[in-house]
């Protein structure tokens, strides 16, 4: 490590930590000072804009305007000429194995398997853990992978999936089980196109299940105890109670978690990038966009892929907005 960097960077950090709140605080104080100089009537209409202006600036500059720019770039050649739908055509040519189709297929795998399994495990763990006195400990342990980066998660699972030729001792956990317990030949989990997508999705499921468990567990605890007791008194078995009482009451939460997971699945990037770099038929849209941008120097194609990703997200986005407005209307 270069110590001279400490000498320049640490003061920078201190300046930022002290300076940023100072500048933003001064902005709000100064804004309020000016607002008070205004005539009574104008104050109420000027003040809110002062408070939201920095946020609106950043959101417009880094999300809204660039998103519109990407739409334009997706219709342009590298040189900036208008080429209509050519970029999209190049991405969507040769169904089902050419262009972006492999990535689209894999995103569909992610969408379905990742979402369903994470909901399933989340619900299962929430219900089981609810019944033991050491709930908080086991919950923390399941939840822990949420805190680490997807890169570290990828490293963890690379070791799980490690492959050694059949005559060597298997050092990967899964292949050791395959060889020693099931007496099968070891599998190349990450390069075999029959299993590798599922291997990546399994790793991702492991990382995010804690998220769905925590939310579903909170919803489960929100169910009134007398309701469950009444069902028990009526002689309903635990499984019937789950199917007829618990699950329907948790449905709204399941839907909210599910839509969040769908968005995560569509945006999947880190795990694929770290574990296979999108090779061996495991590409996803986010990784393809990155590769087109940095390895192929093809911003037009990358933009087209980004727009395809946006189109995939739009139904979820609309659903979220409706959900939000419905909640607002009840407020």
């Amino acid at each position: 490590m270069d110590l001279s960097l400490l000498l320049t960077d640490v003061p920078t950090l201190v300046v930022v930590i002290v300076g940023v709140p100072a500048v933003l605080g001064a902005y709000i104080l100064g804004g309020e000072f000016l607002v008070r100089r205004l005539p009574d009537r104008a104050r109420g209409s000027v003040r809110p804009w002062i408070w939201v202006a920095p946020a609106l600036f950043f959101v417009t500059a880094f999300l809204v305007a660039p998103a519109i720019g990407t739409v334009f770039t997706s219709f342009q050649s590298h040189g900036g000429d208008w080429i209509g739908l050519t970029n999209y055509q190049r991405q969507l040519v040769d169904f089902p194995n050419g262009g972006a189709w492999i990535a689209i297929r894999n995103n569909l795998y992610w969408l379905v398997l990742y979402t369903l399994f994470v909901l399933f495990f989340g619900l299962l763990l929430a219900v089981l853990f609810d019944r033991v006195p050491y709930e908080s400990v086991v919950k923390s342990l399941i939840f822990m992978p949420m805190a680490i980066s997807a890169v570290a998660l990828g490293v963890i699972w690379k070791f799980m999936f490690w492959y050694q030729p059949a005559d060597a001792p298997q050092t990967g956990t899964l292949n050791a089980i395959v060889v020693n317990v099931f007496h099968q030949a070891p599998k190349t989990w990450l390069t075999d196109p029959n299993v590798n997508n599922f291997a990546l999705i399994a790793a991702a499921i492991w990382g995010i299940t804690g998220f769905s468990m925590v939310i579903l567990s909170a919803a489960l605890k929100g169910i009134p105890a007398d309701l469950l007791e009444a069902a028990r008194v009526d002689g309903a078995g635990e499984i019937t109670i789950f199917r007829r009482v618990i699950f329907p009451l948790m449905m709204p939460t399941v839907v909210v978690v599910g839509t969040t997971l769908v968005i995560f699945a569509l945006k999947a990037f880190d795990i694929v990038y770290v574990m296979t770099a999108g090779n061996f038929g495991t590409d996803v849209l986010a990784n393809r966009m990155y590769k087109l941008l940095y390895q192929a120097d093809n911003p037009g194609g990358a933009s087209a892929v980004a727009i395809i990703l946006l189109l995939a997200v739009i139904p979820v986005l609309i659903f979220n907005l409706r959900q939000f407005r419905a909640v607002e209307a009840r407020r």
Binding site: R47, S149, M160
Partner: protein
């Protein structure tokens, strides 16, 4: 003891050693076995890597990590020493702090101002702008990279000239929709009497914000800070786009990803590197788990 309480603590009313009593005990045992084995199975991947990181290079290549659980215990710190000396981990750890701290501080402060306005001020278009922010929560960041990069390059706001300023600003833009959403929901839930009585006392907007709203919102702000901190600390994509893999600037995630792709067979260093990268998030998580969970609940269970 009421039936409800009995059901909760799992105490049975049935006579000892009757068939019903035995069945109930068995059910309880099955439950505990299921819970504990699921949890243990869930920990195997991480435990395997942790144990591997304390094994010798030759051992890692010759036998599985589970063999190290039996004597003779042959653990070592050499992987950690080696990775700190030979690779770029120390510098990267430092870079991660350099990126994460400002990129947490700036959006949270700006979001607090905006959320206050969205929650307690009236202005034309307020509800529509807030709705647009909710919509932006789902929009992939990928959509913004190319135009922002073009502008950064054309005005010279690149790592070589300005260090991490570009990535701080980008993270500010990306973090704001969620931050505003979370804080505005919290601010709105504060009782309106507070504001009315403060106004009657002649307190200005600033006094209400700094003296009443902020102190009452410490838990929400803590949740948000932890969230944003972990999100940026663990981020790979934004760092790859705006910072890149140059040794002097790469954060931990980028360095670890580079190690993963380059080391191939010599993966003993990777085990230690992965745990070094997890150290800070795990400390944050374990010490502040309560706030973290609260943030997750506030951010996703809408309403």
């Amino acid at each position: 003891m009421t039936a409800e309480a009995a059901a909760r603590v799992g105490v049975s009313h049935t006579a000892r050693f009757s068939p019903a009593w035995v069945a109930e005990r068995l059910q309880g045992a099955v439950l505990h076995v299921a819970v504990i084995s699921l949890t243990v199975a869930w920990m195997v991947p991480a435990a395997g890597l942790l144990i591997s990181s304390f094994r010798h290079f030759t051992d890692i290549n010759q036998s599985g990590w589970w063999t190290a659980l039996a004597p003779p215990y042959n653990f070592t710190l050499e992987n950690y020493v080696q990775v700190l000396q030979s690779s770029n981990m120390g510098q990267s750890l430092f870079n991660s702090f350099m990126i994460t701290i400002p990129a947490t501080l700036i959006p949270v402060t700006i979001a607090a101002f905006a959320a206050y306005a969205f929650a307690w001020m009236k202005f034309p278009g307020r509800d529509w702008i807030f709705l647009a922010l909710v919509g932006l929560l789902a929009v992939p960041l990928q959509l913004s990279f190319i135009p922002v990069l073009k502008v950064f390059v054309s005005i010279g706001l690149v790592v070589q000239n300005w260090g991490f300023v570009g990535v701080w600003l980008a993270h500010t833009g990306y973090g704001l929709p969620f931050s505003i959403y979370l804080l505005a929901n919290f601010f709105r839930a504060l009782p309106s009497d507070l504001f009315e009585s403060a106004e009657i006392d002649g307190a200005g907007t600033l006094t209400v914000f700094f003296r009443i709203v902020l102190p009452l919102s410490v838990p929400a702000i803590a949740s948000l800070v932890i969230f944003q901190f972990l999100w940026i600390w663990n981020d790979l994509l934004v760092a790859l786009i705006y910072v890149g893999g140059t040794k002097s600037v790469a954060p931990l995630t980028v360095t670890l990803a580079n190690l993963t792709n380059s080391l191939g067979q010599g993966y003993n260093l990777l085990t230690a590197a992965a745990f070094i990268s997890m150290l800070v998030p795990l400390i944050v998580f374990l010490s502040l788990q309560r706030y973290f969970v609260r943030g997750i609940l506030a951010g996703s269970v809408k309403g």
